[in-house]
C-alpha cells in the first residue's frame, strides 16, 4: 500500500438506491465495457464527519474474457440485449481499472461500537437474466429487497455461512420480495439462480457502514471513519483478496490503491 495524503472534508456519500427507475438503462449492457449501473446502497448511517479512504483499483496482465451467455432459450431476457451478453466475472474499465471490487474495513473499528443500519432497503434487480448490481454491500439489520423485471422464473439462492441461507423464487415479472435482514457480518454471501446457471451476485454483509464497491474507473471511497488504524480488504470474485493498513488521524482523506494480478 502506498498512501498519499490529502486533506478533504469528509463528506457523506449518498448513493441512490436503484430500483425501478433505472432498470431500463441497466439492462442492455454490452460487454466488455459493461459496468454495474446499479450502485450499491450507500452506507448512509454515519453522519459524523470523519476521515475518508479512497483509492483506485487496477489489475496487471490481461483480463480473462468473460464467457458469453447463451440466452437462446430465454427469449424474454435475450431481447433485452443488442449484442451477445456475457458474464460479469471481470469488469474492467479503461487503463486496467477494475470494477466490482468490494472494499471494506476488515478490522480496526472498535468492537463495541454500534452503527444503526439505514431503513432504506438495498435492492437487487434481476433483469435480462442478470443481477443488478453484481457486487454490493449491505449492513447487518438493513432491509434487503429482491426485484424481478423478467417475465421468467428466477430463484434466488443465498449461500451463506454466518447468516441463514435462503432459497426463494419469483415466477413472474414485477415481483418484489423483501427478505428479513441479515444478522451477521459475512464477506461474501453468494447469490445464484439455478434456473439460469450463469447468474451470480456477491453480497458483503457488514456491521458498519465502512465499505464500497469500485466503479468502472476503479475508484472507491469509504468515508466517515473515526480516527484509528484500519485494515482494509479488497475482495474480487476472480482475483482474490488484498489488504492494506490505513491510519486516520482526523478529517482527512487517505488513499489506498490496490493492484490485482489477473489470472
Amino acid at each position: 500500500m502506498k498512501g498519499r495524503i490529502f486533506s478533504v472534508v469528509g463528506s457523506m456519500l449518498l448513493l441512490t438506491v436503484c430500483s425501478k427507475g433505472n432498470q431500463s438503462s441497466a439492462a442492455p449492457a454490452a460487454p466488455p465495457t459493461a459496468a454495474p449501473t446499479n450502485e450499491p446502497a450507500a452506507p448512509a448511517a454515519s453522519s459524523a464527519a470523519g476521515g475518508t479512504i479512497s483509492g483506485k483499483i487496477k489489475f496487471t496482465g490481461t483480463a480473462p474474457k468473460n464467457p458469453t451467455i447463451d440466452m437462446s432459450e430465454e427469449a424474454a431476457c435475450k431481447s433485452k440485449y443488442t449484442t451477445t451478453p456475457t458474464e460479469e466475472n471481470v469488469v474492467a474499465g479503461p487503463a486496467n481499472a477494475l470494477a466490482n471490487v468490494f472494499v471494506y474495513v476488515k478490522s480496526g473499528v472498535p468492537a463495541g461500537q454500534k452503527f444503526t443500519p439505514p431503513t432504506t432497503p438495498v435492492v437487487i434487480n434481476q433483469s435480462g437474466c442478470r443481477y443488478h448490481p453484481h457486487v454490493f454491500g449491505i449492513m447487518v439489520g438493513q432491509p434487503f429487497e429482491i426485484d424481478n423485471s423478467d417475465p421468467v422464473l428466477h430463484n434466488i439462492k443465498a449461500i451463506a455461512k454466518a447468516n441463514r441461507p435462503f432459497n426463494v423464487s419469483q415466477p413472474t415479472a414485477g415481483m418484489k420480495t423483501t427478505r428479513p435482514p441479515f444478522t451477521a457480518p459475512e464477506v461474501m454471501v453468494n447469490l445464484e439462480c439455478n434456473v439460469h446457471g450463469w447468474m451470480h451476485a456477491y453480497l458483503g454483509v457488514r456491521p458498519d457502514p465502512f465499505y464500497a464497491v469500485s466503479k468502472e474507473d476503479g475508484s472507491f471511497t469509504i468515508s466517515g471513519l473515526p480516527p484509528g488504524t484500519y485494515t482494509i480488504e479488497a475482495w474480487h470474485e476472480k482475483f482474490g483478496t488484498q489488504t492494506a493498513t490505513v491510519t486516520i488521524a482526523g478529517t482527512e482523506t487517505k488513499t489506498a490503491n490496490f493492484t490485482f494480478a489477473a489470472h
Binding site: L153, N155, K157, R164, P165, N167, V168, P171, T177, T178
Partner: protein
C-alpha cells in the same frame, strides 16, 4: 363356575369391566378405553383430513388457473403467496404436505387408529385391548406427530419441498431444497408416528390372538378383523423401516452424515428402496382395512353370507404377502437394473389376482341378495366400483413399457386417488355411518347421507377421471405451471374442469361434516341393532359401556349368517344367538387381568 341368571354385575371379576365414575379427564382425554381412543383418533384424523383437503384446493387452484391470484391468498405470508400468486416453492410444499397429511395423518389413522381400536375388541368379544395404556400412548404419540408436522408450516423456510416421498438428495441437502427446520420436523414427526403405529399394531395383534371370546375361532372372525389383523402385521414390520430411513435422513440433514449424498459416497437410490419397502406395504395398510369393513357392510346390505369367506381371507393374506415384494415398481424409471424391473413387474401384476378375487366375491355376495340400500351399503358399493377402476389403472403402470410414458404423470395421481379416495375414503364414509350409532348412540341422517354419497360420487369422478387423460397427454406430477409446455397447453381447459370439480367435491364434504356433527346432538336415537347385523358389538347397548360386556358372550357361528334357514322369519342370525341345536363353546382360560 356356571353363571346363573341372577348373577350381579360385580360377580364377574372383570377388572376393566366395571369402573367407578371417572373424571372428565380420565374418561375422555387420558382414556384407556379403546372406544374413546378410537373416537379421539376419529376427531383428530378428520381434522387432518380437512387440512389435507385445504392444501389440495390450493394445488387445484394453481393447476387450474396458474396465472391468476388465488382468492384469500393475501391471508398467507409473503414467503408462500406473493401478490396473491402461489410461489413455486409453496406449491411444492403444498403437494408434499397434502400427501404427507393424507397418507400419514388422515387415511392411515382413520382406518387403523379409529377402526382397529374401536372394532377389534367389540367384534372379537374382548373387554378392551390387551395393553390399554400403550393404546393411550399410541394415540398421544400420533397426535404429537401430527402437531410436529403441522408446526413445520410455521418455521423459517416452511415445510418440506421434496414431495411426500422425500426423494434424496433433494431432501437430504438443505442447500438444494431450501428447507432446513421443516425437513427435520418431518423426520422427527415420522419417527414419532412410527412409534405410535408400532405400539398400536402390537396391541391389535396381541388382542386378536389372546382375547377372542369363547367360540370366536379364527375362521369365525369377521373379515374386518382379519383385515385389521393383517394390517397390524404389515404396520409392525413396515413402519420401523421408514423410521430407520427417516433417522438416516435426519442425520444427513443435521449431523452431516452422507447416507444419501452421492457426492460424498452415499447412495441416492438407497432412500427409494427403503422408502418403498415401507411404502408399498403402507399402500395396503391404507386399503386392507377398508376392504375388510366393506366386506362386513356388503354382506349386511345384501342380507347374504359373504361369498367365498375363506378365499377372501386368503386374498387378504395374499395381497399382504405380495405387497412386500413389489416395492420396486415405484422405481421402474429410477435407473435400477432393468432385469430387477422385470421381476417387480411380474409380482406387481400378480397382485391383481387376489384383488380381482375380492371384487368378484363382493359381487358374488350381492348376487341373488335382497339388497338394502342404506348409506353404508351405498358407499360400500361405491367403494367396489371405484376401487375396481383404481385397481385396473394400476395394471397400466405395472406393465413396465406402458409405465414409461405414464410414470410420474397425472395418470399415477389419478390412480392413487382412485384407490385412496374412491377406495379408502368411500369405505370410511361407509364405516363412519355404519358404526356411528355404536360410537355415539345416535343415527346419522339417512337423507343427508344419501345426498352426500351421490354428490361425492359424481364430483369425485369428475375430479379424478380426467386426470387419467391429462396424464396420458404427459402432464408431469408436481409441476407448478403446466402451461409453459406447448404439449400441455391444449389440456388446460380440462385442468380447469378438474379444478372446478375438485372445489365442488370439497364443498360437498361439508354435508358429511354437518351430518356428523349435527347428528351428535340431534340425531335419531339408535336402536340396539340398527342394521340387523350379526356382529358381537350389536349385543351391547349404544354407545357401549367402558369394558364392553359384563360377561363376554359365547360365539356360536360365523359373522355372516344372513338369511340362514335356521334364523326363521328374521333374515339375520347374530354370532351370539344360541339356537337350541348349538352347544356352548369350551370357555377359553381367562387371561390375567380380566
Amino acid at each position: 363356575m356356571t353363571s346363573v341368571a341372577h348373577a350381579q354385575p360385580h360377580a364377574h371379576g372383570g377388572g376393566d369391566a366395571h369402573h367407578a365414575p371417572m373424571s372428565f379427564w380420565r374418561k375422555y382425554i387420558f382414556s384407556t378405553d379403546h372406544k374413546i381412543i378410537g373416537i379421539q383418533f376419529l376427531f383428530v384424523s378428520l381434522f387432518f383430513l380437512l387440512v389435507g383437503g385445504i392444501l389440495a384446493m390450493q394445488i387445484r387452484w394453481q393447476l387450474g388457473f396458474p396465472a391468476k391470484p388465488m382468492p384469500g391468498g393475501g391471508l398467507l405470508p409473503e414467503t408462500m403467496v406473493s401478490d396473491g400468486h402461489i410461489l413455486p416453492e409453496y406449491y411444492v410444499q403444498l403437494v408434499s404436505m397434502h400427501g404427507t397429511f393424507m397418507v400419514f395423518f388422515a387415511i392411515m389413522p382413520l382406518l387403523v387408529g379409529v377402526y382397529a381400536n374401536f372394532l377389534i375388541p367389540l367384534k372379537i368379544g374382548a373387554h378392551d385391548m390387551a395393553f390399554p395404556r400403550i393404546n393411550m400412548w399410541s394415540f398421544w404419540a400420533a397426535l404429537l406427530a401430527g402437531l410436529i408436522m403441522t408446526a413445520s408450516f410455521f418455521v423459517p423456510n416452511g415445510p418440506i419441498r421434496s414431495g411426500w416421498t422425500n426423494y434424496v438428495p433433494l431432501a437430504a441437502r438443505p442447500d438444494l431444497s431450501g428447507v432446513t427446520v421443516g425437513q427435520m420436523l418431518w423426520c422427527i414427526s415420522i419417527v414419532v408416528l412410527g412409534l405410535s403405529s408400532v405400539m398400536g399394531s402390537l396391541n391389535y395383534i396381541t388382542t386378536i390372538i389372546n382375547h377372542r371370546a369363547p367360540g370366536m375361532t379364527w375362521f369365525r372372525m369377521p373379515l374386518s378383523v382379519w383385515a385389521l389383523f393383517i394390517t397390524a402385521i404389515l404396520g409392525v414390520l413396515a413402519l420401523p423401516v421408514l423410521q430407520g430411513a427417516a433417522i438416516m435422513l435426519l442425520f444427513d440433514n443435521v449431523l452431516g452424515t452422507h447416507f444419501f449424498d452421492p457426492a460424498a459416497g452415499g447412495q441416492a437410490l438407497l432412500w427409494q428402496h427403503l422408502f418403498w419397502f415401507f411404502g408399498h406395504p403402507e399402500v395396503y395398510i391404507l386399503i386392507l382395512p377398508a376392504m375388510g369393513m366393506v366386506s362386513d357392510i356388503i354382506a349386511n346390505g345384501s342380507r347374504k353370507p359373504i361369498f367365498g369367506y375363506h378365499s377372501m381371507v386368503f386374498a387378504i393374506i395374499g395381497i399382504a404377502f405380495l405387497g412386500w415384494i413389489v416395492w420396486g415398481h415405484h422405481m421402474f424409471m429410477s435407473g435400477m437394473n432393468p432385469t430387477l424391473g422385470s421381476t417387480f413387474m411380474v409380482s406387481t401384476l400378480l397382485i391383481a389376482v387376489p384383488s380381482a378375487v375380492k371384487v368378484f366375491n363382493w359381487m358374488g355376495t350381492m348376487w341373488r341378495g335382497n339388497l338394502r340400500f342404506h348409506v353404508p351399503m351405498m358407499n360400500a358399493i361405491g367403494f367396489v366400483s371405484m376401487f375396481t377402476i383404481g385397481g385396473l389403472s394400476g395394471i397400466y403402470m405395472a406393465a413396465t413399457p406402458v409405465d414409461i410414458p405414464l410414470h410420474d404423470t397425472q395418470f399415477i395421481v389419478a390412480h392413487i386417488h382412485y384407490v385412496l379416495f374412491g377406495g379408502s375414503l368411500f369405505a370410511l364414509f361407509a364405516a363412519m355411518t355404519y358404526w356411528y350409532p355404536k360410537m355415539f348412540g345416535k343415527m346419522m341422517s339417512e337423507r343427508l347421507g344419501k345426498v352426500h354419497f351421490w354428490l361425492t360420487f359424481v364430483f369425485y369422478n369428475m375430479t379424478f377421471f380426467p386426470m387419467h387423460i391429462i396424464g396420458m397427454g404427459g402432464q408431469m406430477r408436481r409441476i407448478y405451471d403446466p402451461t409453459i409446455y406447448n404439449f400441455l397447453k391444449p389440456q388446460q381447459p380440462l385442468n380447469e374442469f378438474i379444478s372446478y370439480s375438485a372445489f365442488a367435491l370439497f364443498a360437498v364434504q361439508f354435508l358429511f361434516a354437518f351430518n356428523f356433527l349435527w347428528s351428535l346432538k340431534f340425531g335419531k336415537k339408535a336402536p340396539q341393532n340398527p342394521w340387523d347385523d350379526n356382529g358381537l358389538e350389536w349385543s351391547l347397548p349404544n354407545p357401549a359401556p367402558h369394558g364392553n360386556w359384563e360377561k363376554v358372550p359365547n360365539v356360536y357361528r360365523g359373522p355372516y349368517e344372513f338369511s340362514a334357514p335356521e334364523a326363521g322369519d328374521k333374515d339375520y342370525l347374530p354370532q351370539y344367538t344360541k339356537l337350541p341345536t348349538d352347544r356352548d363353546p369350551v370357555p377359553a382360560p381367562v387371561p390375567a387381568g380380566h
